[in-house]
């Protein structure tokens, strides 16, 4: 027996399709780029500053947590970078540095690491951070106040807030096309509708996100918005407005589709997406908050473990009815 040769022994299967968490993270970041670059081109260096700080902080928080827990460093899978990037994209360009530092702490550590790290978070980490900040420092997401000094060449209006307090007629001069092209106020990377749709299509094509969630989210939102619009067109916005304003598109393609906090079976994905879309419009139209995406998705995250139990019967399963 030739003792010198040592062969690698491992369990089947001996092939792998080459997918990895890192690839998925890179795909997500590439998909977010069009909307992000648009935001940076509108808001300039301050926006780039927020994004850069956010990505860096998120990764450092994870590294710090790895260090504290004595784990192997896991930042090379770039999942924290994705969290940082998305968190930054939701902030206004004028966000102060400390809110980025605190926000990424809330996202990475409170939103994810304390639940066991990647894959363990019951809520979307980015959205839990945004929700905590919205409740603690409500002014941070006041886009009128934050962006008052900007004059990018189009009317700097945050459509959802205007609709909420002045009715749909007050924004009738904004065309859907302008909103699609990002001519509105909002988060750094959340305004450019066309960019987000492109990114979403890229993610669906590369199977990083589950199309069922995105599509059912949009459909649920459109149907609910349409029902409101039909009931009182002067007060409630038309479905197109709901689709292109606020966090709807970034929510549909980047936030609701977070792996750990969303269902994986077909019917639960449809329920989850449609439920989040429905709640978004409900909160926007009759709730207390201007934008409902954050809380709508968080609420559906809460329901996820329950609805994901709706699954097909496995092959050969014997179900004993008591």
């Amino acid at each position: 027996m030739n003792k010198a040769k040592k062969f690698v022994v491992s369990h089947a299967p001996f092939w792998h399709n080459g997918d990895s968490i890192k690839t998925r993270s890179y795909h997500t970041m590439i998909a977010a780029l069009p909307a992000l670059l648009f935001g940076i081109s509108v808001y300039g260096v301050p926006a780039a500053r927020v994004i850069a700080l956010s990505i860096a902080c998120a990764m450092l928080w994870e590294l710090g947590m790895n260090y504290v827990l004595g784990q192997e460093a896991t930042i090379d899978n770039c999942s924290s970078a994705v969290i940082g990037m998305l968190f930054g994209m939701l902030l206004p360009a004028t966000a102060p540095w400390w809110i980025v530092v605190v926000g990424t702490f809330l996202a990475v550590i409170v939103g994810r690491e304390i639940f066991g790290g990647i894959g363990g978070n019951p809520f979307n980490p980015v959205l839990s951070a945004v929700a905590i900040i919205m409740l603690s420092w409500p002014d941070m997401y006041d886009y009128y106040g934050a962006l008052v000094n900007y004059n990018p060449g189009f009317s700097m209006i945050y459509p959802l807030e205007t609709i909420k307090f002045q009715g749909f007629d007050a924004v009738s001069h904004i065309s859907i096309t302008d909103m699609l092209l990002g001519k509105q106020a909002g988060g750094i990377g959340a305004t450019c509708g066309i960019g987000l749709i492109l990114g979403g299509a890229y993610l669906i094509y590369n199977k990083v996100i589950r199309w069922e969630i995105s599509i059912s989210f949009i459909v649920g939102l459109m149907i609910t918005a349409h029902l409101f619009y039909v009931s009182d067109p002067s007060k409630y916005a038309c479905p197109g407005f709901h689709l292109l304003s606020g966090y709807t598109l970034i929510g549909a393609f980047f936030l609701a589709t977070d792996d750990a906090s969303s269902p994986v079976n077909f019917i639960p994905m449809l329920i989850y997406g449609a439920g989040a879309g429905f709640l978004t419009v409900l909160i926007r139209n009759i709730g207390a908050y201007v934008d409902g995406v954050v809380f709508a998705i968080l609420l559906m995250n809460l329901a996820n473990p329950l609805i994901d139990r709706l699954r097909p019967k496995p092959l050969g399963k014997v179900i004993e009815n008591a």
């Binding site: 040592k6 062969f7 022994v9 491992s10 089947a12 399709n17 990647i118 079976n265």
Partner: protein
């Protein structure tokens, strides 16, 4: 691998087409026999170094232990060792210095009659290792025999080759199987491109879509026999048994030529992924096969006995070609994708790929924590058909398939322990 964009259709692999060429590997100087009798403290050897073994002779290693292993070579025992396989399997391996074949009485008995009773000792010892004892164990309750012309793993084309080029033997074998008491139906499952060959065999033919994992027994039963195999059940309990095409050919050969078939077809997959079939004497160490094919092995390589999805990696190249060895794969160090300790990220890829609709993402969380009974009761562990696709697609590179096999193994240990307590 092809899979649809909108994930509703189950993705699948296409099968390799069996190459026409076959390489004959000559009789090795040193052969190896595996006897499934592990060494324990109180067992006494009845065999010693220097003993001569004849071809077809029943090989027993320990006193008072029944053996079912027949030698496939003639020669003197040169060394006795123990080999450990996966999940507690232990064999005693005998190195044999080969000589010219001398046949044992077991083979001569075939000259008198070739009915089921005479063939029984050979089950498990001829190529394809057919289990003929099931027909005795279930006392004529087996009514359907399924012969699959495709192999149960990718790249392997042993059964395809047998169906293509040993058709007359298969015809003989099918005739024999049809005459077994109780058997009403012999079903041959073949891909469409092989219909012209298999239609001449004289058995009922069902066409199969050539994608993995459609070829696994559970799916064959569902798709071709309209029977669902319930968890924990064996096909034999439903009166169905599976025999490989190669095994049927071997049975046919025994009946026609009144000898024991000693040469086995093996698919060898080289480093560059190219496949070729070789005809090799059972008992030949893998090293001899590699040497003949000019394959040099190095430390850090991975040698896999079986296919890429369901095979088993081995730690030594002295392992012989066994009746069940259909494929040998050699992978270079640079081609080996390792596993990682990253937890499940709940991406849902495994759910989309699982042909048995098991909630793999939840199952793996139970298995990681050793909660095997919960995994069985809540997450359908026993419904797994062991295709390996979940591990194949996992972006976290979790060894999901290994967890599943380990879970099943641990559960079987728990059950055995409970039975002993009673």
């Amino acid at each position: 691998m092809k899979s649809s964009l909108f994930g509703s259709a189950t993705p699948g692999f296409r099968y390799a087409i069996s190459p026409h060429k076959i390489e004959d590997i000559p009789m090795p100087e040193q052969a190896m026999l595996f006897v499934e009798q592990p060494k324990t403290r109180d067992r006494k050897y009845v065999i010693k170094i220097g003993d001569t073994i004849k071809t077809g002779q029943k090989v027993s290693v320990f006193d008072g232990e029944a053996s079912t292993t027949l030698s496939c070579v003639t020669g003197a025992v040169a060394d006795i060792q123990t080999y450990r396989g996966d999940y507690g399997q232990t064999f005693t391996s005998l190195s044999i210095k080969t000589a010219d074949d001398e046949t044992d009485d077991t083979i001569s008995a075939l000259n008198q009659s070739t009915d089921l009773d005479n063939l029984l000792p050979f089950s498990g010892n001829i190529p394809g290792a057919p289990d003929l004892a099931v027909f005795k164990r279930y006392e004529s309750a087996i009514h359907t025999i399924v012969i699959n012309v495709l192999d149960d793993d990718l790249l392997v084309s042993v059964n395809q080759w047998a169906a293509q080029y040993q058709t007359s033997n298969i015809k003989q074998g099918v005739g024999f199987l049809k005459n077994i008491p109780g058997v009403k139906r012999v079903l041959l499952i073949a891909p469409e491109r092989m219909l012209s060959v298999v239609n001449t065999i004289g058995a009922e033919v069902s066409v199969i879509d050539e994608t993995y994992p459609n070829v696994l027994p559970e799916f064959l039963m569902r798709d071709h026999l309209n029977t669902v195999l319930n968890e924990g059940q064996s096909p034999e309990e439903l009166g169905i048994t599976f025999i490989k095409a190669e095994a049927v050919a071997a049975i046919g050969q025994m009946i026609a030529e009144k000898t024991m078939p000693l040469k086995k077809i093996v698919t060898v997959v080289k480093r560059d992924g190219s496949c070729l079939n070789v005809k090799v004497r059972m008992g030949t160490p893998l090293k001899t096969v590699f040497d003949h094919l000019n394959i040099t092995t190095r430390s850090g390589d991975r040698i896999i006995v079986g296919g890429p999805m369901r095979g088993a990696a081995v730690y030594s190249e002295d392992i012989p070609v066994l009746p069940t060895t259909d494929c040998v794969i050699i992978q270079s160090e640079s081609d080996i994708q390792g596993v990682a300790t990253t937890p499940c990220i709940n991406c849902g890829e495994c759910i989309r790929v699982c042909p048995a609709d098991i909630p793999v993402n939840v199952l793996v969380r139970y298995l990681e924590n050793g909660l095997y009974e919960d995994a069985r009761n809540l997450c359908d562990l026993m419904c797994c058909v062991e295709c390996g696709l979940c591990s194949y697609v996992c972006p976290s590179k979790m060894p999901i398939f290994q967890y599943i096999k380990l879970g099943k193994y641990e559960l079987s240990l728990i059950e055995t322990a409970e039975e002993q307590d009673e």
